[in-house]
Subunit: 195 residues, 2 copies
DNA sequence: CTCAATTTTCAACATGTTGTTTAGTAACAT
DNA sequence: ATGTTACTAAACAACATGTTGAAAATTGAG
């Protein structure tokens, strides 16, 4: 019985492992069940014993990841004392998050870089980022003051914008463009002014 | 001859229009060429006279959108004088961007909300956002000081993080988690301290 | 160890989608 | 009229999907 579960899990993990390997070379959408089972050297039908479909497989892998992230943040928050400052907590959170990313980078590298399709947000960022870069690089003093690579600055700014955009659209455009721009400025100074 | 080109364009636009309509109800991946041509009341073969495949169709629509965004930003930048301040330019850019979003919101609502799949970044943000929210809401003074809806703050912060994460991973983890956390703080104060 | 029950694997099937191709039609230009 | 262009209709092979019934492997009970 124990070996059954072992075998069961082993096959399931084999499928997940093979899937992740293929995902390094092909986009998610272009991967077929056949690709996965061929790589795992099992019958295609066996796949359906473990997963509903390709999307279920991805979902299960992602959920393990998210659950792991939740644990990391919970651990951090349990250490907070009443004397912790906002800024310190922000920094700790940042460290925790980036540490988590580092640990899971093999998997995240694949998920975050899948340009197969669906990567609309990536292409949107690229298009927007290119424009902002041109604007910034004309500014002489800008590059001198910069303590960090410009691509990080661009990723930060364009993603933050995209986040606000997504929320705005999701809220059914509950604000005017001017209000949104003000919101953007306010959030920046809010973050900065917290001591 | 002129009417021929009319016919051609009309069919192509009809396909694009039908596609966008279907996209409001079904996810991109689940839409078949047959769905589109059936809705457009044209032969399936005709689709292939205008587009290579489903992805080509999406790409062409997106490219029109991005090209339009580029024009908007170009227009703005041509108005900059040597006396413009960084902060003013930032604000103008924000206004221009959000105005653009407003104009194209019907299309963007669909693109940005397609959870069909590929929406990994969305699910990642949700998972991370949930944790940050819990942490923030424990802070009494936080909610009082807030001039804007918390969901916007969360979208901003989590997206900005995600942007840095994507860049970091893309750069092959060229920094330590601590450096990344510092980078995050530095960018915030850099933006804020620009006058 | 043996064997029946259970679990896992597999080959084959029906179904549906894709992209291509062929032949034919209709509208227009020269 | 003749040729060109844009589309239609139907058929095609190639391939992917999810299911099923039979076979094989693994297990615990006797």
């Amino acid at each position: 019985m124990s070996i059954y579960i072992e075998k069961n899990r082993r096959t399931k993990q084999l499928i997940q492992k093979s899937f992740m390997l293929i995902l390094e070379k092909k986009s998610f959408e272009s991967i077929t069940i056949g690709d996965i089972t061929k790589a795992a050297k099992i019958n295609r039908g066996t796949f359906y014993l473990h997963f509903k479909d390709k999307y279920d497989l991805l979902e299960q892998i992602e959920q393990q990841l998210f659950s792991d992230l939740g644990t990391h943040i919970d651990d951090l928050q349990s250490q907070y004392s009443s004397t912790s400052t906002f800024k310190k907590e922000q920094e700790d959170l940042a460290v925790t998050l980036f540490q988590f990313i580092e640990i899971h980078s093999p998997m995240l590298r694949i998920f975050l870089s899948d340009r197969g399709r669906a990567g609309f947000h990536i292409r949107f960022r690229d298009a927007f980022s290119k424009k902002v870069r041109l604007n910034l690089e004309k500014n002489e003093t800008f590059n001198e003051r910069l303590k960090f690579p410009i691509e990080y600055f661009l990723s930060f700014i364009t993603s933050a914008f995209l986040g606000l955009i997504e929320q705005w659209v999701q809220n059914g455009l509950d604000k005017t463009p001017q209000e949104m721009a003000m919101l953007y400025i306010d959030i920046i100074s809010f973050i900065q002014n917290k001591e």
